[in-house]
Amino acid sequence: MGEPIIELNEITKKYDNQFAVDHLSLTIQKGEIFGLLGPNGAGKSTTILMMLGLSEPTSGGVKVCGMNSTRYPLEVKGRVGYLPDDLGFYEQMTGFENLVYTAYLNGLNKQVAEKRAMDLLYRVGLLDAANKKAGKYSRGMKQRLGLADVLMKDPEVIILDEPTLGIDPEGVRELLKLIKELNEQENITVLLSSHQLHQVQQICDRVGIFVKGKLLAEGNIESLAKQLFFEDTLVINVTAEPVSQALIEKINQINGVNRFENLGDSIEIYCDFDVTPTIANTIIQEGAKLYHITKKDYGLDEIYHRYFEGSEAT
């Protein structure tokens, strides 16, 4: 940790006077899994293409592995694996042949290429399908073959654009596990973009929320919640009987509690920090029966949703 491997400095991409990416700055450290989250059309893919030097930023600088991607795209592409969202293979060739071809393009010789292709097919669980035509692969198999393809060049960084798109839940779970393994065992930095929050949440060390070409917030899930909702960070849901006026008064006086909402069968208490034990204590001291008390954590869904609520209001 601590060594930046992808540095975006105020990059901008304009298409017909419209910003696809708007002064984006982002640093990704070596060895982390970073999730780029955003709705469709937010500029995620454009940003990724600029990292690979496949698209030229209108202004700003991109550095990957310490090299300027716009000026030295070949060097960068030699070290970075990229899994595009509209992934496709040569259908008349087998999965194995597709991988070997990629290896040739990376300058590996036949022996090394074939050996590594077999290793990787084994690793992604496609050894049985190695000699099947890639046209006959299912979507999930293609995605796993895609991951193997990305790894053929022995990359330092892999960039996955919507890797979980269109695969079934079991497939997603396996793919994410594989990505996590790669990150842990081989110290490969992973950047993945997605609009599916649960999945990103499972494996990412940090996420960045990306909307309309701008990075709204970045950090781990907890700090994101703090960044986006600097007040009412924590919500405590309580079901108690009876909820008397005196009890409400008491709870409101607890240090850190901001707001209070009665939902009918339960109450929600918004507070700055975790005061769950104090609340529980108060309720019991007041003689009420406590049935249920939970701390509500913000998942990415919540963050996402609340952000969009906010953006529509403004």
Binding site: L54, S55, L74, Y82, D86, Y101, L105, Y122, G146
Partner: protein, 344 residues
């Protein structure tokens, strides 16, 4: 399977020592090899190659039969045949049942060129392989260049083998070996065929870069092919009827000038250029490609031109054809280099 476990372990040790810095030319060769294999294994190309081979061999066979009959009549005929470039007649004459070889090439060649090129880039884009290809450490133009080279190789292999096959068959059936000059002319002719098809190939590639749909680019290519092989000459003939109307022409110089104009209009068509080129190369008695006045012909001794003179005569046409090819390639190159890689 203990072997795989061993392999797996080898892989997990970062294999720095196996990693060779990409050797550019070997990478380029890898792409060419793959594209070449793709062409040779695609049904579309196999069928076209078969059609071309069959029609060409058919037309050559009829030509051979009629030549053989003429030659076998007497010993004298054999001697005359040797002096009059009989071997080259294989490509240009027919007994009326099938058109000669050159006509077939000028008609089917473009179809082959377009078929080789029309989906070079857009099919990769639609299948999603282009973005994967572009993510590899290869310069962007390698893809385009390699596709062109591979298609050209298919062409070269086809025509050189057809040419040599014909020579062999010709010797066997007619019984007269080609002279050195005949052989040289034949080789130049084959080279011309390759150039001519390369033009159509590049037109196909240009459309494949420009149009996102393979069907659009195929149809545009075929439209141009039909336009030049059928309609263009009709249009020019109509124009020439108006231009060459005897009532409006007052002097010989004017008549000559207009004749030249019509000819130059015709030469805008690659098909016409090709036919001029092949006529000059394969019929050494052709002395000029423009109109000649009676004064110019006075005192002229009918006889074949030597090879270098024939080549000199077709030089402008050849340059024109190659230039058209290069222009198509240059446009597609520039378009491709500036295009966005993403598919949507």
């Amino acid at each position: 399977m203990p072997n795989i476990k061993q392999l797996f372990r080898n892989f997990t040790m970062k294999s720095e020592d196996h990693f060779i810095r990409p050797n550019r030319s070997s990478v380029f060769r890898a792409i060419v090899r793959k594209e070449f294999t793709d062409y040779l294994t695609s049904w579309r190309i196999i069928i076209l190659l078969l059609i071309i081979c069959l029609t060409c061999i058919g037309s050559l066979y009829t030509a051979m039969e009629s030549i053989k009959n003429a030659v076998n009549q007497s010993e004298e005929a054999k001697q005359i045949a040797k002096d009059s470039f009989l071997f080259l007649k294989l490509f240009t004459i027919s007994d009326g049942t099938l058109p000669p070889f050159t006509t077939f090439v000028s008609f089917l060649g473009p179809l082959l060129g377009i078929a080789l090129g029309f989906d070079a880039i857009n099919s990769e884009r639609n299948k999603g392989t282009l973005s994967r290809l572009m993510a590899q450490p290869i310069p962007r133009d390698y893809v385009l260049n390699a596709k062109f080279i591979a298609a050209l190789l298919v062409n070269i292999v086809l025509f050189i083998s057809l040419g040599l096959l014909i020579t062999a068959l010709g010797i066997l059936i007619i019984g007269i070996p080609p002279t050195y000059e005949e052989f040289a002319r034949m080789m130049y002719f084959l080279l011309l065929c390759i150039c001519y098809i390369a033009f159509w190939l590049n037109l196909g590639i240009l459309f494949s870069v420009r149009f996102k749909q393979a069907a659009t680019s195929a149809l545009s290519g075929i439209a141009i092919w039909i336009f030049f092989s059928v309609f263009y000459s009709m249009i020019v003939q109509m124009l020439s009827k108006v231009l060459m109307n005897p009532e409006t022409i007052t002097s010989t110089a004017q008549a000559l000038g207009r004749q030249e104009l019509v000819l130059n209009l015709m030469r805008l068509s690659p098909n016409y250029l090709f036919s001029e080129l092949t006529n000059t190369l394969l019929s050494p008695s052709v002395r000029s490609l423009g109109p000649l006045t009676m004064e110019q012909r006075v005192g002229q001794i009918a006889g074949p031109l030597p090879l270098n003179q024939s080549l000199l005569l077709i030089w402008p046409q050849l340059t024109g054809l190659v230039a058209a090819t290069l222009i198509c390639f240059a446009i597609s190159y520039v378009l491709f280099m500036r295009q966005e890689i993403r598919s949507n």
